[in-house]
């Protein structure tokens, strides 16, 4: 979707101003929000692509101004509502309660060893997105390709700044879950994945590109059309 989250190349956002030091978590609510991602993934609320799309659907003004983990909470609520797993009226009621009683305790509960075991297992093993496919890769290293100009309404990883731009395939990684399918609840639909290299002048124009800069961007097979194959390659 064509939203403000797609920030690459947007001007006028302001200084980065990186602090010398900062804690991993700036507040206790950030610790809870961070852990909820894995917990809700385990509970089947979303896959990673759907999770990203839930963030993309946020109010754009809030997206730009909210602390980072608030984006995650927005996606949890979006998918809780979408799947019927979360009663938003109940969430509102409890929010009012904890606003009025910030020190009120959480519901009593015992430790659940299964959830600790899950944490200890998922961190080192992860959730790989590589998937086999019978499809042949349509492109190879050295091919000059054009990125799709499509602007889908749903989830996609075609960033605005690379739409319609011409780059060179510099690697092929195998086949992976396809965000345009998985992020929109339509299954993995594995597609070959490539890294493209773009010259900054192709992206921003001769006059505005910094000298001696290139950008690499990963693209799934359906995003691409062939412009020219490398010289000497079989057609």
């Amino acid at each position: 979707m064509n939203g403000v989250f797609d920030l690459g190349g947007t001007d006028g956002i302001g200084p980065v101003d990186p602090p010398a030091e900062e804690p991993v978590f700036r507040a206790d609510w950030e610790k809870a929000a961070f852990t909820m991602f894995s917990a809700l993934f385990r509970a089947g609320w979303f896959g990673i692509d759907e999770f990203r799309h839930g963030v993309e659907k946020m109010d754009p003004a809030l997206y730009l101004k909210s602390p980072y983990y608030k984006h995650w909470i927005a996606s949890f609520e979006y998918h809780g509502k979408r799947t019927g797993k979360l009663d938003l009226a109940e969430l509102d009621r409890r929010t009012q309660y904890y606003l009025a009683n910030p020190d009120a305790p959480l519901p009593e509960h015992g430790p659940n060893q299964e959830l600790i075991d899950f944490a200890n297992a998922v961190v080192p093993s992860g959730a790989p997105a590589i998937r086999p496919t019978d499809k042949e890769p349509r492109f190879k290293i050295g091919d000059v390709v054009r990125m799709s100009s499509d602007v889908p309404f749903g989830h996609t990883r075609i960033a605005g700044y690379v739409r319609g731009k011409v780059g060179t395939v510099i690697s092929h990684h195998g086949s992976f879950v396809y965000p345009d399918s998985a992020g929109n609840g339509r299954g993995d639909d594995p597609q070959h994945l490539y890294t493209l290299q773009f010259d900054a002048t192709e992206l921003w124009g001769e006059q505005y590109a910094e000298p001696n800069v290139t950008t690499t961007f990963d693209a799934w097979d359906p995003y691409l059309t062939l412009v020219t194959a490398p010289e000497g390659a079989a057609v």
Binding site: R26, K31, F34, T35, P102, A129, T215
Partner: protein
């Protein structure tokens, strides 16, 4: 619905409310939260990336394995998994300097770098790094990359996770991997800063 950003009291109450519901559903527990926090505050962080880089600087065969398949080579060093299921190490040279960004969200190689700093996830870095990297690095990070060195910015649009293998600082001949690891900074693994200099 107001689009006013919530106060920290409001966010705290909202998250506590959600946590209370998820506790009752058996989806999350406070001890699960404590475990995740312990992992990313104390176990998984840029010290792992530093150890891997120092080994690559001192062990040419390991470096070759790292550049051929970073995921497997990092596993040898105890760094693997969540948000680094498929990794690529980018070797800086005299001609090319690499840096990473995720313009579409906040993708970052957790197994070697831990969780990203806030500035990496915020709109300011993501919007501008892709467009004016040389100027941004100098203005915001005080890191000047001479114009004869190509800057190659890697936008993590897929699940591939990239990170930088910086050049070994001069004057470190004969140093142990342990001593070299001390010179590797988080920023040098992102590509927004140098390794620590010697002397």
């Amino acid at each position: 619905m107001s689009n006013r950003p919530k106060t920290s009291e409001e966010i705290t109450a909202r998250v506590k409310a959600l946590e209370s519901i998820l506790i009752e559903k058996g989806v999350v527990t406070t001890s699960m939260i404590d475990r995740f926090v312990e992992i990313y505050e104390h176990e998984v962080g840029p010290q792992l990336g530093a150890k891997i880089v120092a080994r690559a600087w001192t062990d040419p065969e390991y470096k070759a394995r790292l550049l051929a398949d970073a995921t497997e080579a990092c596993k040898e060093m105890g760094a693997s998994g969540l948000q680094g299921e498929d990794m690529v190490a980018l070797e800086d040279t005299d001609e090319v300097h690499h840096a990473i960004v995720c313009t579409l969200c906040s993708c970052y190689p957790w197994p070697v770098l831990g969780l990203p700093p806030n500035w990496y996830k915020d709109p300011q870095y993501r919007s501008r790094m892709i467009r004016e990297p040389r100027q941004l690095l100098e203005e915001e990070f005080g890191y000047k990359v001479p114009e004869h060195i190509e800057i190659r910015v890697w936008d993590s649009s897929s699940e591939m996770r990239y990170w930088v293998l910086p050049q070994r600082p001069a004057g470190t001949e004969g140093w142990s991997a342990e001593a070299l690891a001390e010179l590797v900074t988080r920023d040098s693994l992102i590509g927004v800063g140098p390794t620590k200099s010697v002397g």
